[in-house]
Symmetry: D3
Subunit: 130 residues, 6 copies
């Protein structure tokens, strides 16, 4: 364990409370490295977890769709940690290999056409502004 | 119509063939500005349409999910045209206002935690590499 | 003229010296908006112009190639001003419509495969590290 | 070989057909990791290779210029794999150390002035819209 | 007022409560467009305001420094709205024209050297990992 | 030492002159890897160092604020090397753990709201254009 990360054994009561809620909500025995590193700032740890918990709960979009969107953003931004962790989360939520393949194809295509639209300086169609 | 765009009336037969396929596939009376600008390069126009058509067809992921992922990437990249056009496409495919709100919430959160992971230099958990 | 920009008539002697050098080096009657806005900070104006002048001069790469690379980066970053100004500069340096089309095709493809490599978490081939 | 990658020995006939075409087109004994990972989705593998092959062939722009543009985009996006692989490809196509140095200088400068233009909110010169 | 935005007069009680807290906290007569558009999703509106309020309050960093960092990120990402709004907020918090000029210079330089580090594939110095 | 880097012992007189100035200006016994890799292009090495030296000197903004802004940009861009090196530089300039935590919180929040503004296509308030 790096000195940069805070493990449960070394955590303050307020950090432990967040870790406990993550473990209970996700039904996992331990939290991921992301939370252990963020625990260096207990205020940001608590706020981030509460926000993620609220945003990722089932609603108009199901958890699998939300995790795939999270993965699409992470891949676009080139965040290696986030790509690894949200691919794992999406698979746990039901993403099959075929779904992963199609998701990556869409992400790749969107990144390509985003630049074609930029390069050709395409003006927004009036119909899109209605 | 800008001199930068190619309208059906001024299009070559090969460009018209692509425009016709877009209109037929999407059941629309005209193509969006994106295709009219891209028509300046007929080879790229044809290849891009064929790729988009293949990637966006129903498969392991449904068209609505694919459009929402496309929108998530476009918003992350800050492509104004793409955000406008794919928001319209996603709504046409069934995205409700509630779904749009949740989608934006996930996109925002992913962009935030991507940077927290970068900033704290979080190493990938061994479990994600299995 | 916006109050945010500094025109030659309102420029200090040090700003005018930079404007004069830009006009002389590029053989143009006036400088672009970029320089008029940057003139609000004469130190950054001078340093940026000197750097651009040094970097964009003919060398191992010719001016056209350099302008096309500048455009490729600007399109990738989604900088609207830079895309417009460097497309104009590249055309002035000899970029044909066919070259523009191929350039955009490469930029689009690179942005797509960059994300495929991110998403599939492809490790660097040992041969690339030699 | 990671379980995430598909080697020739384990590839299906359709994947082998793509691998064979890559090896023949590039005159190389084996394909790079990028293709071995992408092979997990044979449809995306085939489409991506056909697109790359079409886009990167000699045309109005020569292969070296195209590879340098590919590298410029990859560096801007921070794609580590792509930076390594396209630097190798550009060198193979003739990029000298002096050309690499100037390419990086242009990429760096473009990324800097892109943000200066964003920050000063520079409006597009009317001349660029002609 | 666009149909996309929700003004105080048309807002629900829960949206008005957030608008009231923004106006009181910032001592302003009305909220910015950002909040009026976000009001379309009251849950995200409330969470985002609470997070922004917590993050931007004086702490180990003063409000001016926080606003300048916010502006630096917005300029880097090319978010036009955010660049305009956070430049205004930073000026209100005390950013002088000289400070703005130096801030942009640092943002530009960081974006440049970020790509030089990417392009040269510079490995992290062992001293930075202590 | 990688063959990609140039150490003081193997450096040309012009590279050594830059290395000497870096060591003297920063009062350090050796230069970071960034400069050793950049030394492959002595012209870019010299120009980049002179620019960084000018931009990062105390002025309207103090060195600590400048380093934190540099770090904020590096984290946003996902440059691993730059995040590591500028976090070290910021700490050396006085950034405490509490300041780092708040800095990351602002960077994360800015990246989130940048995308919410993009996604909701928020128009700039007239007051910001005054």
């Amino acid at each position: 364990m790096s000195a940069q990360a805070i493990d449960y054994a070394n955590a303050s009561p307020e950090v432990r409370a967040v870790f406990d809620d993550i473990k209970k909500s996700r039904n996992v025995p331990d939290v991921n490295n992301f939370w252990k590193y963020l625990a260096r700032d207990p205020v940001t740890l608590k706020r981030t977890w509460q926000s993620v918990k609220e945003v990722m709960q089932p609603g108009a979009l199901d958890p699998l769709t939300k995790e795939m969107v999270y993965l699409a953003v992470s891949v676009t931004n080139g965040c290696g940690y986030c790509t690894a962790s949200h691919a794992a989360a999406a698979r746990k939520a039901g993403m099959s290999e075929a779904m992963f393949g199609e998701l990556m194809a869409v992400v790749g295509m969107a990144n390509e056409t985003n630049r074609l639209a930029n390069g050709y300086r395409v003006p927004v169609d009036p119909a899109f502004d209605k």
